[in-house]
Symmetry: C2
Subunit: 106 residues, 2 copies
């Protein structure tokens, strides 16, 4: 999938991946894999960005001797998903514009 198309989708995907249950980096990547692929460096950049924007909070917990950072979505994060649904209407109108066939040309 084209990198440029992924932009703007990735943030929301990450938020969606934690919206029902707190999760951590490695797990998020696995959960998103069937839907959208992203590298670790990309994910951790995104998580930091979302934290700075108050869309999620972080909690460090030990698990099997290793540290894990669990991410929890905030109301702002949920709002971001809702806003995305609105933006989707614009996206759909763009899609229709691009795929619209001109009868005169056909």
């Amino acid at each position: 999938m084209d990198i440029q198309l992924k932009r703007g989708l990735l943030d929301v995907c990450v938020l969606a991946a934690i919206k029902n249950e707190d999760s951590y980096g490695y797990q998020i990547i696995k959960d998103l894999k069937p839907c959208i692929e992203l590298s670790e460096s990309t994910l951790y950049t995104i998580l930091k960005r979302l934290e700075a924007a108050n869309m999620l909070t972080v909690r460090t917990a030990e698990h099997g001797g290793r540290l894990r950072k669990y991410y929890h979505i905030t109301p702002e994060g949920r709002k971001r998903i809702e806003d995305f649904k609105d933006e989707w209407k614009e996206i759909m109108s763009i899609y229709r514009f691009v795929t619209k066939e001109d009868e005169a040309y056909e």
Copy 2:
């Protein structure tokens, strides 16, 4: 509309704007306005990129004493639009993932 979301859409929009009829910069911006807004600097950057990628050709013509550069879509440009339709399936699956409600959570 979020800048990041526009990325990956803009190229295809510009190609769509000239797919039925050759057009020039200023006109393309006006035609796209109801669908997606873009500045002149953005458009001319995109046009150069698409030309470099052989997705369109350029022809300079005089019109009312002023020069205009008319852009014409190539087969590669049309293929780009077709490829976009395929990518759209992935986009839709991402949308469904993001908006999917988890019954257990509701």
